[in-house]
């Protein structure tokens, strides 16, 4: 329901808690009123011109690590089934 995209804080907030953020090189001022702990250099999720949360980058890296290691133990037993599941992949479930 709500687009919120990660952006990096690139300026100190001004007196009304507006700071500049960078989204792939595009810069815009957003409000940090909702993220009092956000610091210069942090990534925040931006929605409608407001930072709504500081992105937990450590958590992101950990969950990727978890996902990357997952399924390895089943790899052998799944090898035989893989082709089968590929076939279902093309068929809409609905």
């Amino acid at each position: 329901m709500c687009l919120a995209i990660p952006a990096r804080i690139v300026s100190e907030p001004n007196e009304i808690e507006m700071a500049e953020v960078d989204i792939l090189g595009v810069k815009r001022h957003v409000s940090l009123m909702m993220t009092p702990d956000a610091k210069l250099g942090d990534h925040v999720l931006v929605h409608a011109g407001f930072a709504i949360q500081v992105v937990d980058e450590e958590f992101a890296a950990e969950s990727l690590e978890m996902l990357n290691s997952m399924g390895i133990k089943h790899a052998d037993e799944l090898a035989a089934e893989l082709d089968g599941s590929d076939e279902t992949a093309g068929v809409p479930a609905s």
């Binding site: 929605h47 409608a48 949360q53 992105v55 937990d56 980058e57 992101a60 996902l67 609905s94």
Partner: protein, 365 residues
């Protein structure tokens, strides 16, 4: 950051998750994605096609534009018609049909309706144009409500005499309760909205698991995020658990964002709200608190709203409740297309019908 997001778009990781989902989803289940951005992500990345036959994905009422009822849109239009009023809003609202018109039609007829990216931008317009009264039309769930709540606070701080807000904001958990008690809706698990949960955390959903035994997983929007959410739900179901879990920890903490929740509570109080297709759900609306009455467009720009009218044959209500799929509606793709939308599910690009229309070969299914 891009490197991190790239990991959540990695087809290899996704493939492992798909394999795991196929392995554990033995029993048939019906999962509802509550959030329209999930509907879009599922359609855009073709995730419906990689699900095992046991998993049925339903699209729920997750688009604040889609659930806005005709009388509310009619009210916004009447306000825009008042002399001296500039109506500002998000681009999403422009094409939504009300009973008789839409903001986009009104604009073509000369009303001063402007699109902003942030509600704060509407304050800037009010400051630049002191002869006008600038109304911000606020729609959205808990993600968007605090941005408008803080804008109201900011308007009060600047003592802006010519700005007010029309709140059509709604809150999600009450709607989920209406869905689980609806006998026509059979949901075995909820894919819960990531960015609403960024604000409210897990607490407001706990009743789903505790009182109704329905599990929920708060889920992000990259393809790997969505698959991880489905996988965690399938796992709960396979293990006979019903809990509220987070699959989007990089953006959601269990306690949510307390500053944002406090901001909502400071500017708004709960009220009843009409949801298109569902009806009035008590306590799911957000109205400006009486102490902000001078920033409430309902009191600042009083208007008479004509008797609302519902559109014949439109099944948006059933689509929003997940009772029928968009394809099942007789109007879908014929009388109702993105060019000429009949119901709001087709208007909003994240509406269920628009997502199905855009991203799937509906003609062949």
């Amino acid at each position: 950051m891009n490197d991190i997001l790239a990991g959540f778009r990695d087809p290899e990781v996704a493939r492992r998750l798909v394999d795991e989902i196929h392995r554990i989803a033995v029993e048939p289940c019906t999962l509802m994605e509550v959030c329209g951005t999930h509907t879009m992500a599922i359609a855009k990345h073709g995730l419906r096609g990689v699900m095992p036959e046991t998993i049925k994905l339903l699209s729920g009422p997750g688009c604040p534009v889609c659930v806005t009822a005709n009388p509310d849109i009619d009210l916004a239009i009447e306000i825009a018609r008042q002399p001296g009023v500039v109506l500002t809003t998000f681009g999403d609202m422009m094409k939504v049909p009300g009973s008789y018109s839409s903001l986009s039609t009104e604009k073509s007829e000369g009303r001063d309706i402007r699109i902003v990216y942030s509600p704060l931008d509407s304050l800037a317009i009010a400051e630049r144009e002191p002869d006008k009264h600038v109304v911000f039309l606020g729609v959205g769930f808990e993600t968007t409500a605090p941005t408008v709540a803080l804008t109201i606070r900011e308007a009060a701080r600047r003592k802006l005499p010519n700005w007010s807000a029309l709140s059509l904001h709604k809150t999600v958990p009450g709607a989920l309760e209406a869905l689980v008690v609806d006998p026509e809706v059979r949901v075995t698990g909820f894919i819960l909205p990531g960015h609403v949960s960024t604000i409210i955390g897990t607490g407001p959903y706990e009743f789903l698991a505790r009182e109704y035994g329905v599990p929920g997983v708060i889920t992000g929007f990259e393809p790997v995020d969505v698959l991880q959410g489905v996988w965690m739900l399938a796992k709960q179901l396979a293990e006979g658990r019903a809990e509220i879990e987070i699959a989007y920890g990089r953006g959601v903490h269990a306690e949510g964002n307390p500053s944002a929740v406090a901001a909502i509570d400071a500017s708004f109080e709960r009220c009843d709200a009409e949801w298109r297709g569902i009806g009035v759900i008590p306590g799911t609306g957000l109205a400006l608190r009486p102490e902000f009455a001078e920033y409430d467009a309902r009191t600042r720009v009083p208007v008479a709203v004509p008797e609302p009218r519902e559109i014949k044959g439109c099944q948006c209500g059933d689509v929003l409740r997940g009772v029928v799929l968009p394809f099942d509606c007789k109007l879908f793709g014929r009388a109702c297309t993105p060019e000429h939308p009949v119901g709001p599910c087709m208007v909003s690009s994240e509406g269920s019908c628009a997502a199905y229309y855009r991203y799937t070969d509906y003609g062949k299914e």
